[in-house]
Point group: C2
Chain length 419, copies 2
């Protein structure tokens, strides 16, 4: 018998029939002898509908009121889910974030969890009942006001509760089957991973893979909560996210891609100390996060260099506006902006101990006739920027080159067989 | 400067534009120098929609979960209203029933308010802000669970808060202009009352007038809270409900009617002690509330009598079924059931000190050719049962006979001029 925290996203509880389907799954888990605590998101488009309503009222709603408004969505889904479980003959009780002891700071709209005191949840489980908890919300106990946790908040609620309850596993249900070696819409031969480490899934997420929110993975890593990413629409096992296990974890986890970035190049920047610092100070001052940075060594004699960096394309205007305002001060001759780029990232905890990964990557792209514009690396990630049009072909070429295609031998990528 | 509690019903906040219109009215009250606490119901059909959702899940939802579900509606309307007020340049903060200190017993679905501790509301008003409170909901502090107050709950919330805050007046806004001398759909010449006492409005409500819920009026009477019933769709004064004021209150407040009743007659009941008690014990045991009762003295010699009573027509089957089961025990010969009846009630605190009211009523009906089937009286009410088809004509005849029509001299009914 285990203690299992299950989290169901909005698409899993989109209407009454879906709520009943999820209830049946929960009841099956309970009847298999496990204690079950469920975290649930708002139904389908409820949250977006509430945001629309607020926008009809005012374009600048106070964030405290916005949080009260949005938390209504999970109250609806959690109580309906409790009713559906009860109708199947298993007692269930629903709890708001506040009632579940999810305590946050006072940053409305994107509050951070500072403590979880789930005594009512523990009592409910001890009484043999299923506990349903509203995701995405907590309470700022100083003001006694409700808060929301921001994007990915329900996943974070689930992991935080799993940590506080010392659950055996936190199951995150959505409409995807698990973590894949690449986006199956681009690489039809992409495979679902059986297991992946926290670091690798973090790099995947940061590199554009739509899997778990980094914040939730970081929480799971800190408290060592095993997370099982799986689909509520099938009974298949998904992907287990745990701490690194060299015997189980693939050397290369997968190929992520991101086409939401743009590239800024400042041409002919004087190659003197402090210029780069000033450039990124200006960009940071405009509230823009940058990703990759490339600065070439200046060609001998000219005393000038080019500085390129990538950033979210949505922040393009803000960043270029801020940089144009300091053109004379920085002394660059020209600003180039390109939002037709794509970023490919090869991720895997094993690659740090395996030489030759980067050479293999560059060969694969070269063989496919794809030009590389920028390169950056971390311990367990290797990213390159290509033209946006080349990105799908690049992802497929790299996926194949590293033996990730589903018709290839699994031993090539799993379990320390080395290369 | 006054402290005003305003309550807006669902039809007053049915959509974003209505919320903005109500916000403008609140801001105008605030800018006139008053402190304003607002109680708001769920938007339009929200509550019915949530009930529908629950019914799609199960026909027998646990009441605790039902209460959590339904309280979502007021969270939405209250936060949107706070945003709309904020957008007009006045600070506003919304509060759940729990945050506003509305403490109830644990009877989910129809909880009774046992205390109101509105310290956060008082602080908000002291800070010069508008306080918005979710109607219809409270907290059962023993279990720390939300509860709902049942039908008319938002009106009761408003009056309870007005009492706890020692407000100068509690304004109840809806889509009607106030309390009328009769239903304007039946009596086009019906007049809006300027003022009415708690007792009279209670009798009006109990007699079928769709004005204030009795529970809310009883609360107002107990704590002596003046209630101003008015429309959110106009700036006209409505009707002030206060304790009896012989100088201000009309002798006859109005003519109420109710066509939702039915009549049961047991024919040839043995006229021996205990039979009537047994009959009404059986009806009460079936959970049916009865209204009027008539038992004739038995015609000399027969030793038998007829017993008639009225009850809500929706309970007709339950009551007749229970009575048929005890037919031999009670010894009646026949059970007659008639759901084509109507009840007319003349209500007014002044009538107890004015003789001749009943004679005038019977004359008016007789002149209109309307037969009276049953009669019952209280201190300030006189009710008769007629055929359902006669009810509209009966209401109009009585309304005219007592000088309530709007083209007649107001002095006839207002202010102790006597007759």
């Amino acid at each position: 018998m285990a203690l299992i925290v299950q989290k169901y996203g909005g698409s899993s509880v989109a209407d009454a029939a879906s709520v009943q389907r999820v209830a049946a799954r929960i009841v099956a888990t309970k009847r298999a002898g496990h204690d079950v605590c469920v975290v649930v998101s708002a139904m389908g488009d409820t949250t977006d509908d509430l945001i629309d309503l607020a926008q009809q009222i005012t374009c600048d709603p106070p964030q405290r009121e916005m949080d009260i408004l949005l938390t209504a969505g999970e109250r609806i889904s959690m109580s309906l889910l409790a009713m559906a479980i009860d109708a199947l003959g298993v007692q269930a009780r629903s709890f708001t974030g506040q009632q579940a002891g999810v305590i946050t700071d006072a940053v409305y709209g994107r509050a951070r969890i500072i403590d979880v005191t789930p005594s009512r949840i523990a009592e409910t489980l001890d009484a043999g009942q299923v506990a349903i908890v509203a995701g995405f919300q907590g309470v700022n106990t100083e003001a006694n006001d409700v808060t929301t946790l921001g994007r990915g908040g329900s996943d974070t609620t689930a992991v935080a509760l799993a940590a506080a309850l010392r659950a055996d596993v936190c199951e995150i249900y959505s409409d995807v089957d698990g973590v894949f070696t690449a986006d199956p819409r681009i690489v039809p031969t992409a495979r679902k991973l059986k297991q992946i480490g926290y670091e690798a899934v973090l790099e995947m997420a940061a590199s554009g893979a739509k899997v778990l929110i980094p914040r939730c993975v970081e929480y799971a890593r800190r408290f060592d909560v095993p997370v099982h990413v799986r689909s509520s629409f099938s009974d298949l096992d998904g992907t287990l996210v745990t701490k690194e296990d060299p015997m189980e974890e693939p050397i290369i986890a997968g190929v992520a891609h991101d086409s939401s970035q743009a590239k800024v190049t400042l041409v002919d920047v004087p190659d003197v100390p402090g210029k780069a610092a000033r450039i990124f100070e200006v960009v940071a001052g405009a509230g823009v996060n940058i990703d990759m940075i490339v600065q070439n060594v200046s060609a001998s004699g000219t005393g000038r260099t080019d500085v390129s960096f990538t950033l979210p394309a949505v922040d393009g205007k803000t960043a270029t506006g801020a940089l144009e305002a300091v053109r004379d001060e920085v002394g660059y001759s020209r600003l180039q902006y390109d939002d037709t780029i794509g970023k490919l990232s090869l991720v895997g905890a094993g690659m740090k101990s395996h030489p030759g990964v980067s050479a293999k990557l560059f060969h694969a792209l070269s063989d496919a006739g794809i030009n590389i514009e920028m390169i950056s690396t971390s311990e367990i990630r290797l990213s390159v920027v290509t033209g946006a049009g080349d990105l799908p072909a690049a992802v497929r070429a790299v996926h194949t080159a590293f033996g990730l295609d589903s018709d290839q031998d699994e031993a090539v990528v799993y379990g320390g067989t080395g290369r």
